[in-house]
Amino acid sequence: MDATQDSGAQPRRRFLAEAAAGAVGACCVGVPLASGLVAWLDPLSKASGSGDWIQVASLSSVPTDGTPVRVTVVTGKSDAWTRDAAVPVGVVYLRRTAPAQVVALHSVCPHAGCFVDYQTDRRAFFCPCHDSTFAVDGSINDPRSPSPRPMDTLTVEVRGEAVWLRFQNFRSGIPAKVALT
């Protein structure tokens, strides 16, 4: 075979060379790219680990007249490489609805995640970001509130003198209450 002959004269050989070059290239770029991508996607494979029962307050600390109290939920939590035995993971409002019955409202606004504040003098919840307002029971009490749903409730159990709840965070900005996983 003539060494100087243009490989274009041999379409099959030329195709093989092109395919090989493509494969070698894809491999060289693909392996590091994929290794990065896999690690970058790591958060998707990590569950939030929320939803466990946590003791948050004593029953007597929740006023009997139905006024909400703000309570910080403290429990064990991992944040990447840090593990804490007891750190605040969220804040809820507890409200007594019957002598031994307590309702918990999540303090995170269902609109876009700001901290909803309870205003004693208005006897209502108010979000300082886009002015959503909620009644003491968490329902939207002003139709102009941009929040797509009432404040999120959490599952509560009164066990003797202690108030327990399953703490979760929820997706904001959508009408349905969907727990973040």
Binding site: S48, P128, C129
Partner: protein
């Protein structure tokens, strides 16, 4: 020298390149309206220079980010200036981008054959917005944290991919170390890298097509060098001067107290150049027209459509009246953005809750600095842990949360929020002081609401005693009255009252006798000895730390109100507050908040 230049030129073609850069033709001569692109490149250069040095001192993790920025701001030589430059140049870039965009659209420089170049410009706009957004979180202070939370939760509402995307951006289900590492990698690596590439393409294409000269030409065609270079230089200098002015005036960029997600933060706002978007989400029409989908429409669909139209302008501009449409559209968007920004600023200015939160944020930030300096540095647990031990910070928060539904503090709730409702229990500002006690014992003041609020004690025995008996006793022996007050106030042992105590001792001792004799306080109160028959709160240790902690822990104890307690909860007994928390409230009310009183600096031997 010439030989060296030649040597380099032969191997690099540098002179040709330089020539091409400087001798770019400008039909119609140099003009001020062409400076915007150069000022933006200049700003980007400043951001790289300042950013890289900030990087050398910045530590992205949830318990070191704020701490490292604190160190840059307050401890590093020239740190505040460096940070201030980075902060204000970022703001200047957003203004300049708008001016640049306006010039490009008005002059028609976006039309064929410069479409691709225009798109690189749009990409640069988005990259700059991205850098502003990611940078705002890095200090991990209250405002950056609060505002970025809103931004990332908006990602979550994107249909289908939203939740996964949010998790990838946040680096998990919740904010934490990986939120910062990811934001920082974007901010200092990915986005600037893309920006350099986009600027290179933008400038190369600009050179390829030449400048779109504004008609009519005012002057003969000229080179880029020297007139336009001079104008560009002057413009950059003007930008720099404004930025330096702002930096010096504000002593660098603001640094709020460190983020604490357990505290409500009623002043969470994005950086001002995102404020119009924030305010847009408040508009009523979103919920009225789109109901539950209002937020999706307001945060994703409409901004997406606007960006789409912006990107499509080169095509639209080709149609009949298209250029007019583009001009009009841009005008409407910009005027709308300005109006929304003004609306947002004005509604915040008229909102007392917001104003109180801003002042509170400033107080917390200043206090944080005081504490760190008193401690000689930040403990390993981080700055928030230090702040959470501080009575001056935590006391008023707890008061607002647990006490202010009945009590007041100087007329407000401890955090500066004034309630429209009348208080139903005493105002505790200055409790334990002579001023407070003199007011209580003043027949005109005792029932004015400051003292007994709306409790049943307002018309009780004590009020009657002050109104019916005390005036005569006081008139008879004013000196005895003064020493009685000194004696009771001495029980409180307020830090503010400790000076000159020795000189007052004789008076206090005389006063102690008057308490039980002249004034007959001990008919109802116990004072400095056990008293089985006492029916009113004990005056032994009245207003002292121990007395107050015990009272708040359980006002129904026989030493205090006993069975006659009017509504005040037993905070410790009911599990509402811990003893430590009660102590923090008490220390704050007693103004016993000097860091020296509770801080034990680590490793400092005195």
């Amino acid at each position: 020298m010439k030989k060296l230049i030649d040597w380099i030129d032969q191997r690099t073609g540098m002179q040709g390149l330089l020539h091409e850069v400087l001798f770019e033709r400008i039909p119609g001569g140099a003009r001020w309206r062409y400076v915007w692109g150069s000022t933006l490149s200049f700003c980007f250069l400043v951001q790289i220079l300042t950013g890289v040095v900030l990087w050398m001192a910045y530590s992205p993790s949830a318990n070191s980010a704020w701490e490292s920025v604190y160190y840059i701001q307050h401890e590093m030589t020239g740190g505040w200036f460096l940070r201030g430059l980075h902060h204000f140049v970022a703001q200047a870039m957003h203004v300049l981008l708008v001016l640049h965009l306006l010039q490009v659209i008005i002059d028609g420089a976006y039309k064929a054959p410069r479409e691709v170049n225009y798109w690189f410009g749009v990409v640069l706009l988005m990259l700059t917005l991205g850098l502003g957004l990611t940078g705002y979180l890095l200090p991990w202070d209250q405002k950056g944290f609060g505002a970025t939370k809103v931004a990332t939760s908006l990602i979550g509402i994107v249909p289908l991919v939203g939740p996964s995307l949010q998790k990838l951006v946040v680096g998990g289900s919740d904010y934490g170390h990986h939120t910062l590492t990811r934001f920082f990698a974007l901010h200092a690596g990915v986005l600037p890298g893309l920006m350099i590439a986009a600027i290179a393409a933008h400038v190369a294409l600009f050179r390829k097509h030449g400048i779109t000269a504004k008609q009519p030409y005012r002057k003969p065609e000229a080179n880029f060098w020297p007139d336009q270079v001079l104008m560009d230089g002057v413009a950059c200098l003007a930008v720099l001067a404004s930025v330096v002015y702002l930096t010096v005036r504000h002593h660098g960029a603001e640094l709020h107290a460190p983020a604490d997600p357990t505290q409500p933060f009623n002043a969470a706002r994005p950086e001002w150049y995102f404020l119009f978007l924030f305010e847009f989400l408040k508009l009523d029409f979103l919920t009225q027209w789109f109901g539950h989908q209002g937020e999706l429409v307001g945060a994703i669909v409409i901004p997406g459509v606007v960006m789409g139209i912006l990107a499509g302008m080169p095509f639209i501009g080709g149609w009949r009246l298209g250029h007019r449409f583009n001009l009009g559209f841009l005008g409407v968007v910009l005027v709308g953005a300005v109006l929304l920004t003004v609306k947002s600023l004005r509604s915040d200015a008229a909102n007392p809750g917001f104003q109180a939160a801003v002042i509170q944020a400033q107080t917390d930030a200043d206090r944080m600095v005081t504490l760190i300096q008193a401690n000689g540095g930040i403990p390993r647990d981080g700055a928030v842990a230090l702040l959470n031990q501080d009575p001056a910070t935590v006391g008023p928060r707890l008061f607002a949360q647990h006490c202010a539904s009945c009590h007041r503090y100087g007329g407000h709730d401890g955090l500066g929020v004034v309630s429209a409702e009348a208080p139903s229990a005493p105002d505790l500002r200055g409790f334990g002081s002579a001023v407070w006690l003199r007011g209580l014992l003043n027949p005109e003041q005792i029932t004015n609401g400051f003292y007994y609020g709306g409790t049943k004690f307002r018309t009780g025995k004590m009020a009657r005693y002050v109104q019916e008996k005390l005036p005569a006793l006081k008139a008879k022996d004013p000196a005895a009255m003064a020493s009685m007050i000194e004696a009771v106030v001495a029980e409180a042992d307020l830090p503010a009252n400790r000076a000159g105590l020795a000189a007052r001792t004789p008076q206090i001792e005389a006063g102690r006798v008057h308490v039980s004799t002249t004034f007959g306080c001990t008919d109802c109160h116990a004072f400095r000895k056990a008293d089985e028959d006492a029916t009113a709160p004990t005056l032994t240790g009245w207003g002292s730390r121990a007395w107050m902690v015990r009272l708040i822990s359980d006002p129904t104890h026989a030493d205090f109100y006993g069975k006659r307690n009017d509504r005040m909860p037993s905070y410790l007994k009911d599990g509402r507050l811990s003893e430590r928390e009660i102590g923090l409230i008490v220390d704050w009310i007693r103004e016993d908040t000097a860091p020296g009183a509770w801080l034990k600096p680590v490793g400092v031997s005195k």
